[in-house]
C-alpha cells in the first residue's frame, strides 16, 4: 500500500514550502519532493515598468538578499543601455554585494542552521531554536548578530538605508563613498574577522558530531556552477559562468549572455518553484548545484589569504570535490571570511573615493542580461524592453531554482536513510527538513509572516486515510 508523509510547512527556511515523502508497499521511501506552495508574481509585475525603475523594484523581491537583485538588475540595465560603469562604480556595487554576502550568510548559518548543529538533530524543539542558542552559547549568537549588523550597516552607509537601497542604478551608483563612511565601515572589520574566526573554530571542532549527516545530506555526484574571475577564482560581482562535474571535469565555461544555451527551465505541477537543468545533459540528468559549496568547488581559489587557508584545510579533509551538501554550512563561513577580506581590500584602495561613479546613456539595445552570485548562488536577470525602455518580458532565475533538483535528490537520500515505515520521529523528520536548510532556499520573495507556522507532519495512506500525524 502506497503511503505519504508530508512535512508542511518546512520551518526555518525563507518562505513557505512543504516536503512530501511517498512510501512504497513495504514502508520503504519510494520518492520525496520539496514543494514550494507560494506564488511569485514578480516577473509579471515587471511588465510595463520603465527600465530605470527595475533595480529598485527588483530589490523589493527579497528582504534578505535585495542587493543581489539590485546588482543583477542593474547589470541587465547596463546591458540594455550598452554602457559600462566607471571602475569605482563597479567597485562600489561589488562592495555592497559583499556586505550582503556577509550578512545573509550569517543569517543562514547562525540563526537558522546553528540550532541543529549546536543541540543536535534529536534535541527538543523547545531548545533547538535561536533563543536556545542565545542561552546556551551567547558568544555564537552574538557573533552571528554582529556579522549581520556589520553587513547591514555597511549597506546602510553605502546606500542610505539597509533594506532596498535605491543607490545602485543603471550605469553605476548614485553617489560616491565619503571618507567618513569608508572609515566607519573599516572600523568594524577587526571585530568581523574575530567573529568569523570564532565561528570557524566552533564549527570545525564540532564537525565529528555530524559525521552521519555529513555522509547522507545530499552526498551524491553532481555538477556545480558558479561565476569565476579571469584567474578562475571566486567572483561574486562579475565573471564567466563555469560548470564542472563531480570529478572536476570542465563541462562548460560561458558568458552569461549565452545562459539559455546551457541552462534550461521546466515547470513542476506540484510546485511554484521553477527548476532548472544543465541543458547539454537534459532534464533527467541535468542536476547541478549552486551557492557557497559550488563556489568552493568550481573556483580554483578564493584569492584572499584567510579564506584560502580555510579552503586548503577543507580540501585536505574532504577532497578537492566534496559531494555532500552538508558542507554548504562550512563554505558559508568561507564566503563570510572572503567577503570581509575583499571588503577590506576595496576600502583600502584610495580610488574607492573617486567621484565619477556612473555612466549615462539611453536605451541602445532591446535585450539585457545581468548575472551575479547571490549568497545562495547564481542569480540571472533577463529583460526585453521596447524602444522606449518599457519592460516587455522579464525572466528571473534565482539560486533556489538552480538547486531545486538537488534539493529533491537530497530529501530523497535523507528520507531513505533516516525515515523508517510509518513511525514519525522528531529527529528523523527534522533531518529531512535540515537537508533543505543546507541550501538555504530563499522563497521569501513574496511571503508575509502570518504568525506561527506550525510544523505539520502527516502520514497518509493511498486512500487518503491519515495513518499518523504530528504537530509542534
Amino acid at each position: 500500500m502506497a503511503r505519504e508523509i508530508t512535512i508542511d510547512p518546512v520551518t526555518r527556511i525563507e518562505g513557505h514550502a512543504r516536503i512530501r515523502i511517498s512510501l512504497g508497499d513495504a514502508g520503504q521511501v519510494a520518492d520525496a519532493q520539496f514543494q514550494v506552495t507560494q506564488f511569485r508574481g514578480f516577473e509579471k509585475i515587471c511588465q510595463g515598468r520603465p527600465l530605470a525603475e527595475m533595480p529598485s523594484l527588483m530589490a523589493r523581491i527579497c528582504g534578505i538578499c535585495p542587493v543581489s537583485h539590485l546588482i543583477a538588475s542593474a547589470k541587465a540595465c547596463d546591458d540594455i543601455l550598452a554602457v559600462k560603469p566607471p571602475k569605482v562604480g563597479e567597485d562600489l556595487r561589488a562592495l555592497m554585494n559583499l556586505a550582503q554576502i556577509v550578512q545573509s550568510n550569517a543569517l543562514s548559518l547562525f540563526h537558522l542552521a546553528s540550532p541543529d548543529l549546536l543541540f543536535g538533530f534529536d534535541a527538543d524543539p523547545a531548545m533547538r531554536n535561536i533563543v536556545g542558542v542565545a542561552k546556551s552559547n551567547p558568544q555564537l549568537a552574538m557573533d552571528g548578530i554582529y556579522l549581520r549588523k556589520f553587513g547591514q550597516h555597511a549597506i546602510e552607509l553605502l546606500g542610505g538605508k539597509r533594506i532596498h537601497p535605491a543607490w545602485i542604478v543603471p550605469g553605476g551608483v548614485e553617489s560616491a563613498l565619503t571618507a567618513e563612511k569608508r572609515d566607519e565601515i573599516r572600523a568594524m572589520i577587526p571585530e568581523a574577522y574575530a567573529a568569523a574566526d570564532r565561528a570557524l573554530v566552533w564549527y570545525k571542532s564540532n564537525l565529528l558530531n555530524w559525521a552521519e549527516e555529513a555522509e547522507t545530506f545530499g552526498a551524491f555526484p553532481s555538477a556545480f556552477m558558479s561565476l569565476v574571475d579571469a584567474d578562475g577564482n571566486v567572483a561574486h560581482y562579475d565573471g564567466r559562468l563555469r560548470v564542472v562535474d563531480h570529478d572536476g571535469t570542465l563541462l562548460a565555461d560561458f558568458d552569461a549572455h549565452d545562459y539559455a544555451d546551457y541552462i534550461g527551465e521546466y515547470t513542476d505541477e506540484a510546485s511554484f518553484l521553477k527548476p532548472t537543468y544543465f541543458k547539454p545533459r537534459g532534464i533527467e540528468n541535468g542536476l547541478y548545484r549552486v551557492g557557497t559549496l559550488a563556489r568552493a568547488i568550481v573556483a580554483e581559489r578564493f584569492g584572499t589569504p584567510r579564506a584560502d587557508v580555510e579552503l586548503d584545510a577543507f580540501r585536505s579533509r574532504f577532497g578537492r570535490y566534496p559531494s555532500s551538501s552538508f558542507h554548504y554550512h562550512q563554505t558559508r563561513l568561507f564566503d563570510i571570511l572572503y567577503g570581509i577580506e575583499r571588503m577590506e581590500m576595496y576600502l583600502d584602495d584610495p580610488e574607492i573615493l573617486a567621484t565619477r561613479v556612473a555612466s549615462h546613456a539611453e536605451v541602445n539595445r532591446n535585450v539585457g542580461i545581468g548575472v551575479a552570485e547571490a549568497p545562495r548562488g547564481t542569480l540571472i536577470h533577463h529583460y526585453v524592453v521596447d524602444d522606449d525602455g518599457i519592460v516587455q518580458t522579464a525572466n528571473l532565475i534565482i539560486a533556489t531554482g538552480h538547486n531545486a533538483a538537488a534539493m529533491n535528490a537530497s530529501v530523497l537520500q535523507v528520507a531513505r536513510h533516516f525515515v523508517r515505515g510509518e513511525r514519525i520521529e522528531e529527529g528523523m523528520l527534522n533531518r529531512v527538513e535540515a537537508v533543505i536548510r543546507c541550501y538555504d532556499p530563499c522563497l521569501s520573495c513574496s511571503t508575509h509572516a502570518m504568525g506561527q507556522m506550525p510544523l505539520h507532519i502527516s502520514l497518509v495512506g493511498y486512500d487518503g486515510e491519515v495513518l499518523d500525524e504530528v504537530r509542534r
Binding site: 511569485r40 535561536i130 509542534r472
Partner: protein
Amino acid sequence: MTLHRPLVIAYGNRLRGDDAIGWVVADALRDDVRMEPVDVLAVQQLTPDLANEITTASRVVFVDARLDPALTPGVVAVDVVLPEFDAGLMTHNVGAGTILSLAEALYGVHPPAVAVTVAIESAEPGADLSGAVSASVSQLVETVIRLCTETSNA
C-alpha cells in the same frame, strides 16, 4: 550619558498589497516633525539581529499588518509585547516577542514594547493598498506618534 530614544520598527513587503502598510506608515512618520526625537526603521521582516538594535531604545513600537479573516479590514489595534518564545515558532520570521526575548538573553535588557497592527484585506502580489487599509493610515500614524511622544515626554 546616552539619551535613549523611542524606536519604531515597521515591517512588511511593499509588493504584497496591504502588507506594505508598515512601510507606508514609516514613510509618513519620517516626514512628521513630531517624530524628530524618534528613530524609524522599516524592514521586510523581523530578524534576530534586531535584538541588538532595540537594546539602546527607550521604547519600541512595532508596526505591522494583520491578516485575519475574522477582523474587519482597517481596524487598528495596540497590544503590549512581552518577551516570549513559542517553542513552535521556528521560522526565520521571528516575532516581536522573540526579539525581546533574545535581547534579554544576550544583553540582559529589553525595552518596553507595543505592537500597532491594522487588519488587512489581502497580501497578494500588488503595489496598492486596499481602500479600507489606505483609510487607516492617518489613524495608524497618529497612534504611533502618541505612543512615541508619550514615551519621549515621560
